[in-house]
Symmetry: C2
Subunit: 337 residues, 2 copies
């Protein structure tokens, strides 16, 4: 099969670098194929926080989340190598991103989601023409289906946490944020990223290397996969409780992200369900952005960091905006301020 991606030859020739240079290279490869999402500031939120909050609005990204960045790079490489189709599992956004990337190349795609996936995400994936399989609620159950489909159909897996292209690609969101803050004559002390499988925070560690920006992670208290991994000295499967942050349900951090972040992350905030919902409401009412609970988790972490007085300029990866309207309506019904 002839490579069809615009950078297919270059991609096939170069292994992805898991470094700041690799993220820089990834930015060039996806330039013009992703939205350079705006960085939003809100006077109201900053007054509440007592710090400047630079919200990298990846909820406005193609596919509604930052995941398209890594998926494009990974699928480009597979296409260049002659792939016949791709298969991927995720709680939704990586799957949607892989589906969109595959559609660009007219490549068949099968996406494996949990049975309790957000219906919005399932619908958006099907709209790309890709196939959706729903299997179990745990990471292990989905991974097993990915392996089966890969063997049966001869499709290539695009892992959301272990694939180096994915990690470097996700890092471009943070690299772009740093660039945009710099262009606005600002300077970040810290960035806060949500943690599911770990690709966002791993990408941020690469993107910020040597730049004096502290990297913080935020995860639901219900699924403290990174906190548990740091305590255990390696990825462990946690007993996941229910969380509205559907994007952060992976019950185990990826090995590759863990290796990149374990001695680089400044702190991991665990956010309870009420704080996630409240941050979603604050983003909507004060920053006028519809964000999904995973993104709200990062915002809640940033508010925690600001309250501790440990940073004046905080970047937040507003990772996505694929959220059920019923959840938004119920959060707005809380009306706490």
């Amino acid at each position: 099969m002839t490579p069809t991606g615009p950078n297919a030859v270059a991609v096939a020739d170069q292994p992805p670098l898991l470094s700041c240079a690799g993220v820089h290279d990834a930015r060039h490869r996806i330039a013009g194929r992703v939205v350079q999402t705006p960085v939003i500031r809100s006077d109201d939120l900053e007054r509440m926080a007592g710090a400047r909050l630079w919200l990298k609005a990846e909820n406005l990204q193609r596919g509604g989340s930052f995941k398209i960045r890594g998926a494009l790079l990974a699928v480009d490489r597979l296409v260049a190598a002659g792939s016949r189709g791709v298969v991927a599992q995720s709680t939704g956004n990586h799957a949607l991103a892989v589906a969109l990337a595959a559609a660009q190349h007219r490549l068949p795609a099968v996406l494996v989601l949990p049975t309790d996936a957000a219906p919005t995400k399932v619908r958006r994936i099907r709209e790309t023409g890709a196939e959706v399989l729903q299997a179990g609620t745990t990471l292990a159950e989905r991974v097993a289906v990915v392996e089966e489909v890969g063997e049966t159909c001869g499709y290539d897996a695009v892992d959301p946490y272990q694939n180096p292209d994915v990690v470097a690609g996700q890092g471009t969101a943070t690299a772009e944020l740093l660039h945009q803050v710099d262009a606005a004559d600002g300077r970040l002390d810290a960035v806060v990223l949500p943690v599911g499988g770990g690709s966002a925070v791993a990408g941020a560690v690469l993107a910020t290397a040597g730049q004096g920006v502290d990297v913080y992670a935020a995860e639901p208290g219900a699924v403290p996969a990174l906190t548990a991994a740091l305590r255990a000295g390696g990825p462990v499967t946690v007993d996941a409780k229910p969380t509205i942050a559907d994007g952060l349900r992976p019950d185990r951090i990826g090995r590759l992200p863990y290796d990149l972040v374990h001695d680089a992350v400044a702190e991991v905030f665990t956010i309870d369900e009420d704080a996630i919902a409240e941050a979603l409401r604050l983003a909507l009412v004060h920053a006028r952005l519809l964000v999904e609970p995973a993104a709200a988790t990062a915002l809640a972490g940033a508010l925690r960091l600001a309250a501790a007085g440990r940073a004046r300029d905080i970047g937040v990866l507003v990772s996505g905006g694929n959220v059920e309207t019923g959840l938004v309506a119920s959060v707005l019904g809380r009306q706490t301020s």
Copy 2:
């Protein structure tokens, strides 16, 4: 009193030009004092519309609406002339904008809103330290209070529709949109703006002069003030019915906006309440932007224009994002798609 505004001397020296050059000049005067709001595109919305929609996201502006643009210029000029305080009436956003502009100059401000104003807007105005008076529900009732306060306190009125600085300032939103679309290698066929008192559409007529961009207006069917004025050959007071578009409740178009737009506007769309609510929901779910009903009215107009196949690239002034959360929750509850 010494002028305190950064451009106070220049402002006092030059009368505002009601022309494209005047809008250009206004852009320079407010540069760095307003947010250069992003232009957002949504694949989903564009697929539904069958046209490219360039959403000028002034819901992300300081004060939550584009009204800060004109208010800054108007208040600058009054300060330069030695004003002791300002008074203004509006359904909310112009009042908030004047309050914010006055606060920059430590100038007392009294704002007159209808008794049924959106509580969010009243609260935000009070948070600036300005005083709020609520009077009646019609434009005439509020204007009477503005005149009284002006006489009693010696404060200067900042009219939301008749003030040339306000009109030129509001035009900067459209001028900036044209510039941003151009920078993205696009080209607008048309812009659609919401109509309350008429300053947005008047500003757009100035900003687009001679550029081959058609200017469309959208107003609630419940308050068809521009439609009625065009029919009567001049501003008339209409019998306003209830509308969720609180920002578009003025029951009479301003004389100055009327004179600027009556032979320049391509068409006025009247939008019914269901279509306003549906556009608000579409903006939230698909563009991930919280917009107020006035902005949704413009989006609904743009969808109407696109459906008629009369424009391929449509700019939309997403005029503001100051909306009651209860209204949003109720709109989301409709769940029509």
